[in-house]
Structure formats: C-alpha cells, structure tokens
Symmetry: C2
Subunit: 495 residues, 2 copies
C-alpha cells in the first residue's frame, strides 16, 4: 500500500468517528433529555480524544513525508494530491499547539461559556471579565503556537482555522473600503423605510413547518438525505450524507424562522452537494466557513429577500395563513428589506449587519495582537456602536459585548466570515446571473434548479480540492471583491 493510501485509510477512520460524533452532537441539541448531558459530554470527549490520538500516531508523520514524495513524483491523482494537502494541514494542526495548552484552553472556555449564559442575562460584565481573561490569554498563546507552525501572524492563524486563504491585511482593506460608503448607504436606506403591515395573529407551528418544508423542497433540499427539526439555537449539523437542519418557531411571528430556514438550507445544500466519494476524507469537506456562509447568505440575502423569490413565497404563505394584506408580496418585501439598526447582531438587517461584524473584527484583532486588553472592550464597543450605527450601548453589556457566544466560546477569527461571506454571496450571484439570463422569472415560478446546479458545479462538488481563492476566481471570473456586494445593496436599498 502506498504511503498516501495508508494515510487515507487512517483518515477514513477519523472521518467515520467524526460521522458518529456529528450525529450524536446533533442529537444533543435536538433530542437529549436534560439530565443526560454529563455522560454524553464524557462520551463525546472520549471520541474527540481518540481522533486527536489517531492524528498524533507517530507513523503518520513519516507517511505524510513519504506521500509528499509520491505526490512530487506524480504518483498521485490530482484529487489524491489535493486530499494529501488537506491531510498534511490536519497533521500540522494536531501538533501545532501543545496538548497541555489546548487542554487548559478547553477548560477555560468551558468555564467561561457555562457562566456566560447567566452573566449575560444579569448584564454582569464584572464577573465575566475574570473568566474571560484566561480565555483570551490562552487563545493568544495558542494563536502564537499555531502561527509559528504555519508561518502566520497570531490573528491570521486564528482566521486560518475557519477559512484558509484569508489574512487580516486583506480584511482591513475590504472593511475600510466598506466603511467609506456604509454610513451614507445606511442613512439613505433608512430614509426609504415605509410603513409595514405587521402580520398578526397566531401562526401555527405545524403550518410554519409545512411552509418551511415546501420552500426547502423547492430549493432542492433532498429529504432522502436530510431532515428539518427544532433546536434552541438553529444550526445545520449532521454529515454530508445525512444533513440535519434545525430551526426554532415562534407562534407570534413566522417571518424570522422562515428566513432562518432558508439560510440554513444554503448550508445544507452545500453539504449535500459535496463529493460523495471523498465523504470521509478531509478534501471532501466544505472549503471553509467564509465559503459556507457565502452559500447560506446567497440563499437568504441574494435569493430569499429578493422580489422574485417573495413573489413565489407569498402565495405559499397565504395558502397556510389566509389572504391577509400583510402577506402580500409587496408587504413581505417591506418586512424582509426593512433597514433599522439595532443592538443585536443576529437580529440585524442586511444593511446594518456589516457594521456589527466590522466592530467585532476590529476589537478581536487588537485583542489578539495585544494592543488592547479585555477590560478595554466595553468602552471600545460603545464608541464603535455609536460611530457605525449611532446607537448608545453604555452600561448595556447584555445587548453589547456580552451578546455573542463566540468570544466566551473561544472563537476568535470567525466573525469576518459573515461579512466576507455576504460579499462573496453577491459575487457568486452576479456570476450566476451572468450565466443565466432568466433567473428572476425562474425564481418567481419556483424553479431554482439553475441556481443549485450552477452552485453544485462551481462550489459544492469541488469540496476542498482547490484553494478557496482559486475556486472563487474560477467560478466568478474575478478575485474576491466587495464590488458586487456594494452594487447589490445599492440596487436593493437605494433604487
């Protein structure tokens, strides 16, 4: 057996263990009874430890080196060579951060994240700070170690965990660009808000679910390889052969949950479209979280909030909830295109959203680079919220710097993926329109096959066989850019 094949076999085992853990992880969020968590956590931790141990088996380093030779001698197929690159990255990741440091970070995160739920409720920054401080300092240490292994700056090393190909110089340039046109666009868009008829009444959960299923079906979600369930925090989990999407319903308002389903459907379709023959191998995975968010945001923002889509959606909603004027296309459009800056990121409209992300990016980067400390966060948060969105957050930690799970959860470097994903979604959609003339007509009639088949060809089926930035260039004809994002926002909110 070639050294590459030996590696592939080991990663096949790792992939299968990950399969089991993903299903069990979904179950934990969706089904697990309240007192079963302790045993479950222990069982899952053991599973992850086994994966870690498999990656650290000493012969893997030798095989990887030898397999590199095999690749250089042209003995590997192109897909195998691409998979080897991903495997080599995984092996480097497994050894980059000393395991004691990793362990200490995990413990600090668990403690901080656990306390955060109540501390946020109680608006208690002072008790949060001492728990958060070790999370940040250990993350910085781990980022340095990871950076050393990969030849990256500490913050770039964190970005690279979620999306390879990103660096903070590029993000600085893009976000500084956005900041030049964002305030004026936001003001103009707000000035155009018109009166909305708020759909009122009680919207039965079973009808909401049926609408969601009908829309998912139309978008091409394959229910023979996936499901829609309910969880407290909506997510898209499971594995590419069995995608587990979740949502959360409120009887007072169907609009948020429905758009949430469309968002998660974007993630789900990406997973379902990944290359089956590499499902247990690293190259069979999605090409990064910016790419993943670009798919969910393409479905939510480019498609889901567009007029043609809402023309398709309105009759479905009225079929279930009656012919109320609030459910007419034009009113749905007002609802889904309303611009009203608020304190909470996850509730933000499409135009306000980048301000939330840029703020978090700027703070976390400085934090990791060491130019600010954790105690500086609230003042910086207030200053930036006032500057970017004109909102006063002083003393309101709950709806300010305590609102997200990311930082207490040790996820630094993820936030940029949201706005870069939104940018990229506009870029993909522009290319899609370039290749398909009558997209709007098709969407109005509920035919989304051209969209999903284009995305499958250019993104989903490519797994991680290509560099993400090449994937973008190959599919859209240009490098990652904010041009189409700006044009999209102007077209939707100003014209």
């Amino acid at each position: 057996m070639s050294n590459y094949k030996k590696l592939e076999k080991k990663f096949d085992r790792i992939g299968k263990l990950n399969h089991l853990l993903s299903i069990v992880g979904w179950d934990e969020q969706v089904n697990m009874p309240q007192d079963s968590g302790e045993s479950r956590a222990e069982a899952m931790a053991e599973g992850y430890l086994m994966i870690q141990e498999l990656q650290l088996e000493p012969e893997l380093q030798d095989w990887a080196k030898e397999a590199g030779e095999e690749a250089a001698q042209g003995k590997l197929l192109p897909k195998e060579a691409a998979n080897l690159k991903q495997i080599q990255k995984k092996l480097k990741e497994a050894t980059a951060v000393p395991s004691e440091l990793n362990h200490a970070l995990t413990l600090a995160v668990m403690k901080c994240q656990h306390a955060w739920r109540d501390l946020r409720k109680n608006n208690d920054w002072n008790h949060f700070l001492p728990l958060f401080e070790p999370v940040v300092s250990l993350t910085k240490e781990a980022a340095c170690a990871r950076g050393n292994a990969f030849g990256l700056s500490p913050y770039n090393a964190l970005l690279d965990q979620y999306q390879s190909g990103l660096d903070s110089n590029f993000i600085d340039r893009v976000f500084d660009g956005i900041k030049t046109w964002h305030p004026a666009l936001l003001d103009k868009a707000r000035a155009r808000n018109s009166t909305i008829l708020q759909p009122s009444g009680s919207f039965s959960i079973s009808s909401q679910k049926n609408i969601g299923l009908e829309v998912m079906n139309a978008l091409g979600f394959d229910f023979k390889r996936g499901r829609l369930d309910v969880s407290h925090h909506p997510f898209c989990g499971g594995v590419s052969s069995d995608v587990r999407m979740t949502t959360r319903y409120s009887e007072d308002d169907f609009t948020q949950s429905l758009m949430g389903i469309i968002h998660e459907t974007g993630h789900g379709l990406y997973e379902l479209g990944l290359p089956k023959e590499y499902e247990f191998q690293p190259a069979g995975h999605a090409a990064g979280m910016m790419l993943h968010e670009s798919q969910s945001l393409l479905y939510e923002m480019q498609l889901g909030r567009s007029l043609p889509f809402l023309k398709f959606l309105s009759p479905i909603v009225r079929k279930h909830f009656g012919n109320d004027p609030s459910l007419e296309t034009t009113n749905l459009q007002k609802i889904y295109q309303r611009v009203e800056p608020g304190l909470i990121r996850v509730d933000a409209d499409e135009v306000s959203y980048p301000a939330h992300v840029i703020l978090r990016y700027e703070i976390e980067k400085q934090l990791i680079e060491g130019s600010i400390s954790t105690s500086d966060i609230p003042a910086l948060w207030d200053e930036k919220m006032m500057c970017y969105l004109g909102l006063d957050t002083k003393g309101n930690y709950k709806d300010g710097c305590l609102q997200d799970i990311h930082w207490p959860g040790g996820s630094f470097g993820y936030f940029p993926c949201y706005t870069l994903g939104a940018m990229l979604a506009a870029q993909w959609f522009q290319a899609l329109k370039r290749d398909h003339e009558n997209l709007d007509t098709a969407m109005e009639s509920g035919d989304f096959t051209a969209i999903s088949s284009w995305l499958k060809t250019h993104i989903w089926s490519k797994g991680s066989f290509y560099h993400p930035l090449d994937l973008i260039k190959d599919g859209t004809g240009e490098a990652l850019t904010d041009r189409h994002y700006k044009l999209h926002l102007e077209r939707r909110y100003l014209s």
Copy 2:
C-alpha cells in the same frame, strides 16, 4: 496504576464508544432519512471494529492475568472484582471466535437478513433455504469455538451470549414441565373467553402518545433521562443515562401500542436503575437478557394486564377517548386477558406464548446440535404447532418458520429468554407481594413506587455485580422456578 485500573480505563473508552454507537443506532431506527443508510452503516461498522481492536490489544491479556492476581490478593474492592470478572469474559469473547469466521458469519447474516424481508412477504421458503444454510453452519462453527473457549456445549455457548447462568439441561427440564400442564390450561382458559366489546373508531395518535406518557410517568420513568419516540419496530435503546424507548401507533387500535409501551417501560426502568458509577464498565450493564425480559414482562404481564392496573388505566383512557363501555375496566380486562392461539408469536396472548417459544427452542437446539438440518424445519414447525396449539401451518412459511427476524439475523439461543423471563417475572412479583401487603390497592390508585423501589433495590442497582442466579435467589428467596408462573396463569385464567 494497578493492572485492574489499566483495564478499567480501557473499558471506559470502550463503554464510551458504545455510548456513541447506541445513540447513533437509535437514530438510525428513529430519524435517519432513507438514503443515508450506506454511509451510516460504514461509520457504525468502523466504530464496532475499533471496539473489537481495543479488546484485542495484546497487553490487555497480560493486564487481565495480573489483575486476577490482584483480586486473589484481596487488593480489589468487591465491585471491582465483579467488574474484573465481566471484563475477563469480554476478553475471552473477543478472542474465542476467529475473526475470519466472525466476518464470514456477519456477511452471511447480512445477506440472509436482507433477503428475508421480501422472501417472508412472498412466502418463499425455497429461496430462503440456501441463504439460511450458511448462517446455520457458520453459527454452529462459531458456537463450537465459543464453547471450546468457555468449556460449554455449542448450544450452551449460544445461550451464554444472551444470559449467563443458563444451560439447556435446565431449560429442557423446565420446558418439559410446562408442557405437562400447558395444553389443559390453554383449553380451559379458551373455554372461559367471553364476548369482548371491541373499542372502535379512530384513536388519535397524539392522544395515544399522551396516554403512554402518563402511564410511563406513573410507572416512574424519568423523562429527564429518557424519551419515547416512534420506530417501525418498537425497542428500548440508548444508554442507561439516556434511555430511548420507541413504539408504533395504529389509529385503529390503541390497545396493542399501549401494552407495548408498558413492556418497553420495564426494559427502560431497568436501564435507568443501573449503577451510575459503573455506567461505562461491563459490570454496570444489565445482568442478561432473561433478566431484562423478566422486567419488561413483569410490567406488561404481572402488572399491566392485572385488574388493579386496569382499574387505574381505564379512567385515563376514557379521559382521552370518551366514556365508551368498551373502555370500562372489565372490558379492558377481557381484551388484555383474552386467550386465542394464533400463528404469530409477537401477537400471542400470555397463555399461548410459551408454546411459541418452546417450539423454537426445541428446533434451534436440534439444529445447532446437528440432529436435524435446515430443510427439516418446516415439517417440524408444522408438527409442533399442531401439537402445542392445534394450528395448521402447512405451506404457510410466512406466518410459520419465516416469521421471526432472530434466525435469519443469526440470533440462536435468544428465544428461551422470553419464557424464562416470563417465569422469572412471576417469581419476582410473588416476592414483591410477599414484601408489600397492599400492592393491589396502591396499583389501583396509580402508585407504583413500592414496585419500582423494590426492583431497583433487588435487581436494577445490582448491575452485573452478582451471578444472575444468585441475584434471583437473593431477591426472591428461591432458585429460578416455574412454580409462580404456573400459579399466576392459573390464578388469572382459571379462577
């Protein structure tokens, strides 16, 4: 670290892997979309292979030997010594059957079981036979190997897989005893059948579920550590910290599903009552399948079909389905105590049931011992069905020897656990009544705490710390006997 502790650590890992596999296995039956099975099967097979490999690590044999010394020197706590015995048994099992033989058997079973579903539907014994033949011959080979390792006859080696402490001489004696009084009891019980008012109408599944949940709650099922869901074949799965019971509803008839829920609740309570501190260790598991069935049958037969319980149940049913005379206690009693021999084991009444089991036991024992061959089965089946239940099954393989999944699934030696479990259930219940005078009154009022607390003390909390036959003797004051079973049937069906 002592050698015992090293073993414990290894089996902790195995227990946690089994935890993941149990949850994923439940998910497969309850949630998995139809086209996700192939990847799922591969992932689960890898998990089981990893367990097998862990058990075969060569140092475990040394540790087990050394730990045996530690036990002999009194260095282990009694529970640790008991756990060591279970571990030693697992290690012997892992090596008893050569892995090529195991693999060949697994393949033969997969092929036969897969084909069986359609062949049964088509009443096609002739095409079943050549697929079944290798299952039997490979099972015989494996039984010999297992028997050699454990010093048991081949059939006893199969029994021992499901319940240690059983042997076929004992079962012969017990079953021959039952056969002396069974035909007369069956005839007399049938003669006493009176006209039943069949509950009719459409019984909503949500009401059926609510009744089931109310009954489970009353019986003491802890929904903070378990759930009730729907699957095609009802079962009790999951793990002891998170018990996953399933049922199957029919809108035409609520009575079967409801009694099925009570049966599975018996299994579920046993699991929930196992010793928490050994949950990942072999000694923390139930003491065998006869013991397990004794709990489900105690709840279903001793308790669930009794008059006091039906007095408690009837108002709950009427609350949901209205005050129909068919739902009165006396009519429910007629339904649940009706005796009418039929062809299908799983639909059999309490009195007919042992005949189905004895028939299967006698055939499978002869098959494994080599005194008959697979082609003799249909004729033997017909003969015994006529003799024990007076029913003609000639040419009806579908409702005859093709009806159960056990044999095509390679499960030989399991069937006796059903009737021995029913016997043992009567014995436990007799002891329970001995220790609690007013059990009937308590049951009528829906108070089952005395029952569950007695069972928890004498059975559930004991895990596998004791020899199963000792457990029975300690709890009931006598060795496993059919005496109380016979008395119970006579009391219920003749008096």
